[in-house]
Symmetry: C2
Subunit: 355 residues, 2 copies
């Protein structure tokens, strides 16, 4: 089984190194090959997603991804900026189903912005469609307005769009995931304003007919942003489009207080997947050896389960992470009085030891 | 001075009645005329925004609006649904500047989902552009896809767009508002993905050159949704487009724990304005006499200040609301141990008495 290892920028190299270390002690036939991506790839090859990196990713069973981005690339033309690498990988590999769990770890309840009783035991799964919507819709660009409020003025525009098969396949993913959990799906839309999301809602209702054992609820995106704050535990599986999912999954993961702990998976229809932490490249703490590697280590566990048919190894990693937390090890982002502050490498070592 | 009073649906009639009562004791030359809107107007005239209501709104100096919507209208064709009234008023009156304060009242800190130290003293002003973006962009509709991932499939689409003058005028509004407050503006965009919001960012930077005394910060919308949870007090004025503003302003108002207290204003370039509470029509508690009228009463105060040149009367109302809270009166939504639970009418009476 072949894993493409793409550490990227900022803390990416540090956290991915720990996940690789963990994978190596598992005694599984894993072939890992590393390649540059994002700003690091731009520095070396003049492009955030060089052909060699893309080909490696395509040929692998799974991709272990760190993070990309740094302020120093803000001035580059858009196609050369680090985040284009992640958009390019999603598009070229057809990674349409993004799984973002928002879990509040028992020992980390206090780290949440929310009151403990609102987040203790929180376990939401946000499923974000990842290859459609306004992220990729054409046409887009700049032009002179011919109508609207200021005809003749310069304007910029983008196209939001979803086709029936795109909505159907992500709806199936959500209903099937709900069957493994609380059997409830909240489909988030803006059907009261957008044609795209009225259609989204209509198609989700049709697909739901095949899942009578799963409860389906519809919620407007503005209300969802509120309910996540008001009563996050009322959600089980949330399914939504690319743009709304971008916003709500980040909101939800920050609510848990443990964004440094949250993995994510992006899958295509062949179960090939890209696995990355939910947090970003954090250039402000890069190189200091203090980043939390657990989200990346848990992403490696998701990878073993979803793409590499090694669910037992995934379980072992997850238990190891739990025992490390129980033993009181904490990187600075999740540290609190009475626990032991450790760095990136020590945390990785602790997980290896627990294995 | 003429006020169009549009109570609407659900709790709308109850809360607007209290605001009208408050306005009446001010001893100002206010002419108030009432008209149906939303579902109530659909029942009477077959349309959520009948011509008579629209004309009244156009001819008034200001509109006092309750709320619209009820599940029972969900099956209607979209142009007949209650929320079309509010979209129609925004469009026909050109109400492009939406002011949504997110304030955490001292006595209500405990009602927030967030830990007290994160919200005590919170005072953010979200300025949402309200007549552009994907809400009104053409073309939109359904069609057969000619390109994209599934050519030949049914698809639905919408157009996001902003022209230079639309961005310029809302940027001026934000910078000017910041001058009255903390002199900091956070412009929220998604410039890393959307052409529309790269243009937004470029134009906001240009306008900023005229406000060297105001600090300007740019933030991606997903990050903004996180930072609102993590450190809401780091914001002063937030300016963003119609769609992102819809989501973030609801998130921010729910963070305060006092959404039943938060007013809003939507202004055009002639300072004509629509004033409404930030919360919705709450059909589940309609007719029970328990809705909180304070957001609507505070909206009336904003109306006096922004559209009716009566800032002293506005101050008086705001002080009266504060003293009523200090005296311990609470509607059920903000009630806590040790305070006195009152209904909608008693709360209105208490404000009148305090005046
Ligand atoms: C970097 C950016 C393009 C990306 C997105 O918007 O999808 C990121 O925010 C994410 O959620 O993975
Ligand atoms: C009712 C709906 C059309 C409206 C909007 O999306 O603008 C509402 O959510 C609001 O924020 O006033």
């Amino acid at each position: 089984m072949k894993i493409a290892v793409l550490p990227g920028d900022g803390i990416g190299t540090e956290i991915v190194a720990e996940a690789v270390k963990v994978l190596q002690v598992l005694d599984l036939p894993l072939e890992m090959e590393q390649a540059p991506v994002g700003g690091a790839a731009y520095e070396l090859h003049g492009h955030p997603l060089p052909e060699g990196t893309l080909n490696l990713a395509k040929s692998a069973d799974a991709i272990l991804f760190g993070a990309v981005g740094d302020w120093k690339y803000d001035k580059l033309d858009r196609p050369l900026r680090p985040e284009q690498a992640i958009l390019g990988l999603r598009k070229h590999l057809g990674l349409f189903a993004n799984f973002r769990p928002a879990i509040c770890y028992e020992q980390l309840v206090g780290a949440s912005s929310l009151k403990p009783e609102l987040v203790a035991g929180l376990d939401i799964l946000i499923i974000r469609e990842l290859t459609g919507d306004i992220y990729f819709g054409q046409p887009r660009g700049r032009r002179t307005a011919v109508d609207g409020l200021f005809p003749g003025a310069d304007e910029a525009f983008d196209t939001m769009r979803y086709s029936r098969p795109e909505i159907e396949r992500i709806a199936h993913v959500a209903f099937q995931a709900a069957r493994q959990r609380g059997r409830k799906v909240t489909s988030v839309d803006k059907a009261n304003v957008l044609e795209t999301f009225q259609f989204w809602k209509d198609v989700v209702i049709e697909v739901h007919a095949q899942y009578p054992d799963v409860e389906l609820q519809h919620m407007y995106v503005d209300n969802a942003a509120m309910q996540l704050v008001k009563s996050p535990k009322s959600f089980d599986v949330v399914v939504t489009g690319n743009m709304f999912g971008d916003i709500l999954s980040d909101e939800a993961s920050m609510l848990t207080g443990s964004i440094g702990m949250l993995p994510s998976a992006s899958l295509n229809d062949r179960k090939q997947g890209l696995y990355e932490p939910s947090h970003g490249s954090a250039p402000d703490i890069a190189g200091k050896g203090i980043a939390n590697p657990l989200a990346t280590i848990l992403s490696a566990a998701m990878m073993l389960r979803f793409s590499l048919q090694a669910p037992e190894a995934a379980d072992r990693i997850e238990s190891a992470v739990k025992s490390v937390l129980a033993a009181g090890y904490r990187t600075p982002d999740i540290w609190s009085e009475g626990t032991q502050k450790v760095g990136t490498r020590e945390m990785g070592d602790a997980v290896v030891a627990a294995l």
